[in-house]
Symmetry: C2
Amino acid sequence: MILVLSNEEIEQVFTIDECLRALEPAFLDLGNGKAGIIPRQDLLVPGPLEGSYHGFKTFSGSIPRLGVTALRINSDIVTWPIVSGVQRRVKAPLAMGSKYVGLVFLFSTRTGELLAMFPDGFIQAMRVGVTNALSAKYLSRPESSVLAVYGSGWQAKPALLAMCAVRPIKEVRVYSPKKENREGFAKEMDKKVDAKVYAVSSPELAAKGADIVALTTNSLGPFFPAEWIHDGMHITTVRFSEMNLEALLRCDLIVVAGRQQAQLLTLPGEEEKIPEFGIGDYGRDELKGTKADWRDKPELAEIMVGKRKGRENESDVTCILNFIGLGIQFAAAGARIYELAKEKGLGKEIPTEWFCQDVHP
Amino acid sequence: MILVLSNEEIEQVFTIDECLRALEPAFLDLGNGKAGIIPRQDLLVPGPLEGSYHGFKTFSGSIPRLGVTALRINSDIVTWPIVSGVQRRVKAPLAMGSKYVGLVFLFSTRTGELLAMFPDGFIQAMRVGVTNALSAKYLSRPESSVLAVYGSGWQAKPALLAMCAVRPIKEVRVYSPKKENREGFAKEMDKKVDAKVYAVSSPELAAKGADIVALTTNSLGPFFPAEWIHDGMHITTVRFSEMNLEALLRCDLIVVAGRQQAQLLTLPGEEEKIPEFGIGDYGRDELKGTKADWRDKPELAEIMVGKRKGRENESDVTCILNFIGLGIQFAAAGARIYELAKEKGLGKEIPTEWFCQDVHP
């Protein structure tokens, strides 16, 4: 039977600790040439709303050790409004009136069978936060105890929890432009971790003296300048538009989640209408040829297995540009979720037969 | 509700004529920049059998006019045995003990919703045959009446039917190495078309005087030589390993289904073990820089909309190298199948809600 799970069911079994235990060996496999990926590709065609696009995104990853290949799909109605003077990517929830569509399909490398299908939402944010926490585990100073979190949205929570799981964090400052958001978030998170979590009213204040900075915003324009960076800091991003060129040049070591850029495809003539062709995740022409050029930077997996050098000095500023998803994140998380859900009898079942055929394809 | 269909249900509603009516405008959309694709990518990792790989293949296509994006997935256990001295790609049916896994997922570009899921088997062969028939409609001589079909497998039948639908075919010669196969196939097909269909005992005989040649084999080595080609012939292939370099050079016009090659990915050190890295669908180094180099060849869609020149003389030998699948084939076929299945009340239903979420992905 094929297991169909919901975000709520996944949340019941899949904790930050489970995710860390799943993703760390998956990145080690990748670094050791024992796991593989199909890079992300996005196809954007005109959508139903004024200036909107249907964004269809796929990428995959295979971990033979776990016997799984995962495919992650997003089928979004994408818009790019200007919010508080900053351009953002916002997805319009048009499925069933007000929902989003992001899915993970888990296949067996041993039989080819489809094993499970589930929404990507819960895992999505968690694997970004956990990947960035893994970067902190391998790149930040071991005694790092002060964390600054920028953003209070869906990426902020797992980022904060995962950082507290890999480093002895005592103090967390939260900055987000809206007062009620940062304060609500800080209050909520203060109950969940041993560290003291509090909101700060200026973004500069959050970074001051912080050992680790977690940028978890959906800003398509840079907001974290070089002046806020000090020696020994480790900075994590969720898109590489968050830091400006000067800030990136301030870093002694820049690491990327994956060196391969997303391939963005659209119809002829639509290119200039899509902001992300110019900025955001897809390219930063200004970086090319500079010390901040991502194309020759080590990948996190290479650092983790020791193929490329990590932090060399206490005073080094290290940074991960986590601008690209990797299928192995969903394969590793998916395999463990599948195992846990089976153990607990969670989810709905659909006959495997519906997704098999006699025809040699 | 999400519709889940079987190959048998699709076969009930989706005829060669329906497929031609669906694919022709889809290729015109593509040629006119009104449809888009994500190119094929294959990820191969070591599989469960000696020398086998799990081959995970994805590609997508979007047709805004129809409001759909289709994703096609294959999750195969792939092997490469030598059959009668020729290396072939053979998929091992290990799903549920003896089945294959090839799937199409149909999404709405208007809401993002998953609309339908179905196996790819029935459409798979049909869209190849129909695409090649479209090449014949636009490239062969209009009075073409003699067809030669090489192969009697799952690609041969739709190829033969589709050719008879686009040209006034009176005579079909079938060649396949095994006597019982070619004779059984010819007998079966003779009942289905107005043309006289018969088997021939030598491969050379089939081509003699043929107006259109349909190569529908899974041979990874060339078997159709230049000497069998004569003026005015149109040749269709299902993989571009079927003709040798000399045969390709004999063609006045080579057209490709898509110029973009499949991207073949595997783990470090596995490359040399996978025959298709060297031959077959993925590359023919010998062609590079020759007149037969596929990289500068017109695409079928470009020919169809008149952006690139087609046949110029009666005596021209034309050829389509249909070595790459395009997502728009599955999008166009899928949209029509979805419509027909809904009309007839076919298929099983799964709640759309299971494949949506509240979480901003």
